[in-house]
Assembly symmetry: C2
Homo-oligomer: 338 residues x 2
């Protein structure tokens, strides 16, 4: 790995190392003549600055750390992740930032990874995905006063930078869509209970029911994990009731798809017997049969905005909005149209 340093260039160009450095950093007061000379020397020698050395002195790495939740397996199987990552990289690329990912197997490793990035000076800022309700990493980052943005929402800390959907409103909207279709008994399939997003969506759903004067029953709740594990069981428990739901709000398209399958297997027709609405608008929801009504939460935009907010923060730009809300949009398809 060629180790052409700034010194080599200096020698070749007949100037001092500091002058070469000035050329690199585009220092204003440098004569065009030497600038050219140095540039030529760099070109000929195939010089490339050593990023580590530069970072060491400048304290800036041009790198964003991405902290994946330690139970990342779920995350990865969901197309949500790819798409949000694509959004992040999309923006980072425009600002010449790279993204450093480190995975962990448990909470301790996760914390260690963060510490390495922060105290180790490996990243200029950090993106936290899907923080838990009371995430120790958030506290730590605040303590260190390290730039970070949360993708999602945390509860306790006010004023931290975050990018999110209005999940409560989104759930409210989609539930109202079902109500508009004449449904009176609407079930709900939840996501992981320790995530704030799950709670927000549940609230929105309940709010819509309350406002419409419709009943809410825990008998119509299906826990997402339960459905994934033992679909048949989960579905039959809910659907064998006399007062069973005629529609479901499902907090994730992948889960909605599973639920639909189970319902069909149990002899229900979608949407004639049961309507389904999901969240995320992934490819699957569009391609499934019937196509699934869903809330498009702007996944790419979510990633893009998160990166943007973080880089703005790092570069000391003024931030007029600590909490960015990416708009959602109802995508109505067959699964909810009787």
């Amino acid at each position: 790995m060629s180790s052409i340093t700034i010194k080599d260039v200096a020698k070749k160009a007949g100037v001092s190392p500091s002058t070469v450095s000035r050329v690199i950093t585009n220092h204003p007061k440098i004569s065009p003549a030497t600038k050219r000379k140095v540039r030529e020397a760099m070109e000929e020698l195939g010089y490339h600055p050593n990023v580590m050395a530069k970072s060491l002195v400048s304290k800036s790495t041009k790198t964003i750390g991405l902290v994946l939740p330690h139970s990342a397996e779920d995350l990865f199987t969901n197309p949500f992740f790819s798409e949000v990552l694509r959004g992040m990289l999309g923006y980072a690329n425009t600002k010449q930032y790279d993204v450093l990912m480190s995975s962990a197997n448990n909470q301790a490793e996760e914390m260690e990874a963060v510490t390495r990035m922060v105290l180790g000076g490996r990243a200029d800022g950090i993106i936290l995905m899907e923080p838990r309700k009371e995430d120790p990493i958030v506290s730590k980052l605040l303590e260190y006063q390290f730039p970070f943005v949360v993708l999602g929402r945390t509860l306790e800390h006010r004023g931290i930078l975050s990018v999110n959907n209005d999940n409560q409103k989104a759930a409210y909207d989609v539930t109202n869509h079902l109500i508009d279709q004449g449904h009176q008994r609407i079930g709900f399939t939840s996501g992981p209970p320790d995530l704030v997003v799950s709670e927000d969506r549940l609230k929105g759903y309940q709010q819509a029911l309350v406002e419409a004067g419709l009943p809410f029953s825990t008998n119509w709740l299906i826990r997402g994990e339960f459905l994934q594990k033992s679909g048949f069981h989960a579905v039959s428990m809910v659907m064998n009731q006399i007062e069973r739901p005629t529609a479901f709000v499902v907090t994730d398209d992948v889960v909605a798809f599973s639920l639909m399958r189970e319902l069909v297997a149990a002899g229900f027709h979608i949407p004639k017997d049961v309507s389904i609405v999901g969240f995320n608008n992934i490819l699957l929801s569009e391609m499934s049969n019937p196509p699934i009504t869903t809330v498009d939460i702007g996944i790419y935009q979510l990633g893009f905005s998160t990166m943007q907010l973080l880089i703005q923060k790092i570069q000391g730009e003024e931030i007029n909005q600590t909490e960015v809300i990416v708009p959602h949009r109802l995508v109505i398809r067959e699964s909810s149209m009787k």
Copy 2:
């Protein structure tokens, strides 16, 4: 960002900086007593080594660069990517390596990203995904003698490290499965033409036909991109022939899913009228209706092995196999069972 350096620790522990360094690197000849003292000092001060400084002198970054093809959009929409990434991170994590991703919008940026990682000393090794048939990046990396592993296969260079499936055999196997089912006219839906994998699978498919004495016709070929863009048109062109295929080998589950949809929309029943087999065994293929017969190519394993091979190479371990082949496995489902 607390800047507790090795010096601070040294002072606190009443030793010299080098001794602290020795404790960190677990130098053998160090007395248990001072070791303990230093450890305590580190603990109390909350010391964490500066990764940049360490890298600068040790020439090792504990980072693997992941170069995404500049047309990464396709890649990201395919669950393949997440899963392979998960495999990579899975192994990297066990060896305390992080993964640095940089995206690019065009070939020039792509090359620049690589250069930055290599000459800039940002990574110890590089993983190349889906290299083109004659990828200039491969040449460059070879020129620099920089450790890298190709996920997939390149044509020209012999002896470079790579992890791959036996795609030809896989296509051969799955085609034979269709032949065993009695199909005489078997169509093929291809992937991006400039990827080696596409070519390999086409070859395997043709080989199976030839060996079985079955006809091969370009009239039964559908180009994947074409299908994605104008599905109806693509399908009707092939299916309006009198001698139309009764089965299709499709080089990707996502595409297989689309094809199936189009066929159904055109009035064909799967698998009664037309059988479908795909590649990758993603969630979609299992959940679709009917479930799609597919080749499980061990995506996670692909990512895992790639990372493993690269890290072995970097750490100077002996490599007994420059070309790792991850086994594939036929997963037979309804879409190919009349």
